[in-house]
């Protein structure tokens, strides 16, 4: 074996040993590279129950949202012909629309809340995840979750506009204003500013049927389960505005629900619950696992960068090797200079 090769092998061996040492420490821990522990619902988590079977598609919530959050009406070019700028026709949430009612249509659309030949409404806005992806990916803490209410807020003064919250959100909620030279991220903050004054979020406040219902998440979940337990068609007293509030409710027959409370477990759970007559995936509410992807990604980072032990150990090994090898070839050190003598 020639000396060069021997030296190479020795170098390679120490490099491998260094790497192994760097990786071994964290790997020995249980569930290395596994997802980190799931997060739990904040103690006084507030949320919303949206009952698609109660929604009549009046879009009062869309208008109220625009007024409460100072957002302009939208007129997509495709709908300009029959709109002429008179009213808001936002098709989906956007940089100017934080909340929107969308419609599901199939075939002859003869019956509401039926999958075939039917139609149904669905509301789209932030679901205020228990373990939000947007917070996990944000490099500058512009997205925050209130430790008490669990509301996910956005701080444009911190935001650098990298749009990874838009990219990573499983519900495609945060929206960047691409048409503005100084655009910002727009997302529903559950009318945080109104709640601070003791008011309801604008959409729940104006909803005439109680399809958007404000309340504590735990109470809303119980209410959703109560509705699911009823026989379809049975008369039920639906509350309006706030669950347990002082407003009068209204009586209506119970809808033919899908046997699933959407938002309870999706993506590690959210603070918004959906009851729908049409399977949720048809309404644009994606099928998601019970864990948050943020737990997967953070589990990986926490394993690799735990206490910066692995990177520092690796750096230590690299410094030792680089020092020895750069010295061994001193003549060809990259810092070697032709005019070293005269610079002294």
């Amino acid at each position: 074996m020639d000396p060069d090769r021997r030296q190479f092998l020795r170098g390679a061996a120490s490099a491998i040993a260094t790497t192994a040492a760097a990786v071994a420490a964290p790997v020995n821990e249980a569930r290395a590279f596994g997802p980190r522990e799931p997060k739990t619902l904040p103690p006084n988590a507030v949320g919303m129950l949206y009952d698609s079977t109660l929604c009549v598609g009046c879009k009062a919530c869309v208008t109220a949202c625009k007024e409460a959050n100072d957002k302009p009406p939208e007129q997509p070019a495709a709908l300009a012909a029959w709109n002429q700028g008179t009213w808001d026709t936002a098709e989906d949430i956007s940089g100017k629309t934080l909340n929107v009612i969308r419609v599901y249509q199939d075939g002859a659309m003869t019956q509401k809340d039926r999958e075939e030949d039917g139609y149904a409404f669905v509301k789209r806005h932030c679901l205020h995840c228990v373990d939000p992806s947007c917070i996990s990916v944000c490099p500058v803490s512009a997205m925050r979750k209130d430790p008490e209410t669990g509301i996910v807020t956005h701080n444009p003064d911190a935001c650098i506009g990298c749009r990874y919250c838009v990219y990573g959100c499983p519900f495609n909620v945060p929206q960047y204003q691409f048409d503005e030279p100084f655009g910002q991220i727009a997302k529903c903050q559950f009318c945080n500013h109104l709640q601070a004054k003791g008011q309801l979020p604008a959409c729940c406040d104006v909803c005439p049927t109680g399809a958007s219902l404000f309340g504590l998440v735990a109470d809303l979940q119980a209410e959703a389960e109560r509705r699911l337990a009823q026989k379809p068609g049975a008369v039920y007293e639906f509350p309006r505005g706030q669950l347990g509030g002082d407003r009068s409710g209204h009586e209506a027959p119970i809808g033919e629900y899908q046997p699933h409370v959407y938002g309870e477990k999706e993506s590690g759970g959210t603070q918004v619950r959906y009851l729908t007559g049409v399977p949720h995936e048809k309404l644009g509410l994606p099928v998601l696992p019970d864990h948050a992807y943020s737990a997967v990604s953070e589990g990986m980072q926490h394993t690799l960068y735990k206490g910066m032990i692995a990177p520092l150990a690796l750096l230590g090994g690299l410094v030792v090797l680089a020092r020895r090898n750069a010295k061994a070839y001193h003549d060809e050190d990259p810092t070697r200079t032709d005019d070293e003598e005269d610079s002294r």
Partner: protein
């Protein structure tokens, strides 16, 4: 070819050294690149005046477009030449490859610096970019935070590693005037620290560029979504680093009629082939372990992308498997192109093409969006040409350096 032969190929530093290539700066290719840069500059101006929507097809379904994917994710992998060569020369002690290091480093300097420029074009609220460095805004769970800080640190390290090339070129009187010789001595003594950092930092952020995709979950096809993403991104980045060195060396040698470094490149190409083999083992093994290999043969959009990508990864391995083919310049060049295309497509698939955000969103870049990317890459090549002609980057035999002034 054995190591002893390689050693004999090493030029004697007393006779040969890093030298400026010389020659005219403003040549025809340089002018063409300049026009591309001006066109890109025009659209960059529009982006800042009228917003990103004016020039780009990015949307809230595809908020990440070619500026991030081509200029940053793929661009920094192309900038991994310095990383890959430093690992080979200084960590694995293969000094035979030393002549390739400084040009590789220069490629890294521009690949990474201009990725930073592309990020500033892409950031929607660029005036807040400094928040990344303010500790009270730091969000250490964020993979992007790790990438951002790590890339910033590495750009600094790259310029420090390259700095001796400037120092060598400065007149001694100038150096004396500003006490730069002290800096020279300092750098000479402690360069090994920067070399070590120059290996550690890309290891961190190139793997993190894979971890970034872990948040995508079901938006990313299971053919790409795996917890092995960081390792796959790291291996392919290293392979692309060697690929870039081979590409650059071959092109520069052709363009400026320099003596061939074929012996070195033959050896280097086998290192690249080894890494590609490792990549394929992990990639296919992971698909088998997760039971998703069947998706590869569904012959839908994702399956076809996967098959093209895997073919591009496997082709260089097959070409370079035989020593005879390995020594053939043309085949080796073909393998290099295939390697770089494979790594690029893998990144493009993971970040864009294999993503389905739902709701019928689709993305195809607009012409101005692509022209900005072309402008940034053009600027990179222009600066590279200026630098190799004016600074001691390439290891030249004495006679060629004397022939400076020859039009290229």
């Amino acid at each position: 070819m054995n190591a002893a032969n390689l050693e004999s190929r090493i030029p004697n530093p007393a006779l040969e050294n890093h030298q400026p290539l010389g020659g005219r700066i403003v040549t025809k290719p340089f002018m063409i690149l300049g026009v591309l840069v001006l066109i890109g500059g025009y659209f960059i101006l529009r982006r800042f005046l009228f917003g990103m929507g004016d020039v780009s097809h990015m949307s809230n379904g595809f908020p990440i477009g070619t500026w991030v994917v081509l200029d940053v994710v793929i661009g920094t992998a192309f900038g991994c030449g310095g990383f890959a060569m430093a690992l080979l020369v200084y960590i694995l002690n293969r000094n035979a490859y030393h002549p390739l290091i400084r040009p590789a480093l220069l490629g890294g300097v521009f690949g990474y610096t201009l990725a930073g420029l592309a990020v500033m074009i892409d950031l929607g609220r660029y005036w807040n970019a400094f928040n990344l460095l303010l500790p009270w805004y730091a969000q250490t769970n964020s993979v992007i935070f790790e990438v951002a800080l790590c890339v910033m640190a590495y750009v600094t390290v790259l310029w420090i590693e390259f700095w001796p090339a400037f120092l060598e070129r400065m007149p001694p009187a100038f150096k004396k005037r500003f006490h730069l010789h002290k800096m020279q001595i300092f750098l000479r003594r402690y360069m090994y620290v920067f070399i070590a950092l120059g290996v550690l930092l890309p290891t961190m952020h190139q793997s993190s560029l894979g971890s970034v995709l872990l948040i995508m979950g079901s938006k990313l096809s299971p053919l790409w979504y795996t917890t092995w993403l960081p390792l796959l991104f790291l291996i392919s980045a290293l392979a692309m680093g060697y690929g870039v060195v081979m590409l650059e060396s071959t092109l520069v040698q052709r363009a400026f009629k320099l003596p061939s470094e074929a012996a070195l490149l033959t050896r280097l190409s086998r290192v690249g082939a080894g890494l590609l083999t490792l990549f394929l083992v992990v990639r296919i093994g992971d698909l088998l372990a997760r039971g998703q290999l069947g998706l590869a043969f569904a012959f839908d959009r994702y399956s076809i992308l996967f098959l093209i990508e895997t073919t591009l990864f496997a082709a260089p391995v097959l070409i370079l498997a035989s020593k005879r083919r390995c020594a053939n310049t043309r085949l080796r060049f073909l393998a290099t192109i295939s390697l770089l295309a494979a790594g690029s497509l893998y990144r493009m698939n993971g970040y864009l093409l294999a993503i389905d955000p739902g709701n019928g969103w689709i993305y195809f870049p607009s012409a101005p969006e692509l022209l900005i990317t072309v402008g940034v890459v053009g600027l990179e090549i222009m600066l590279y040409l200026i630098f190799i002609k004016t600074l001691p980057v390439l290891l030249l035999p004495g006679r060629i350096a004397e022939a400076a002034g020859r039009p290229s």
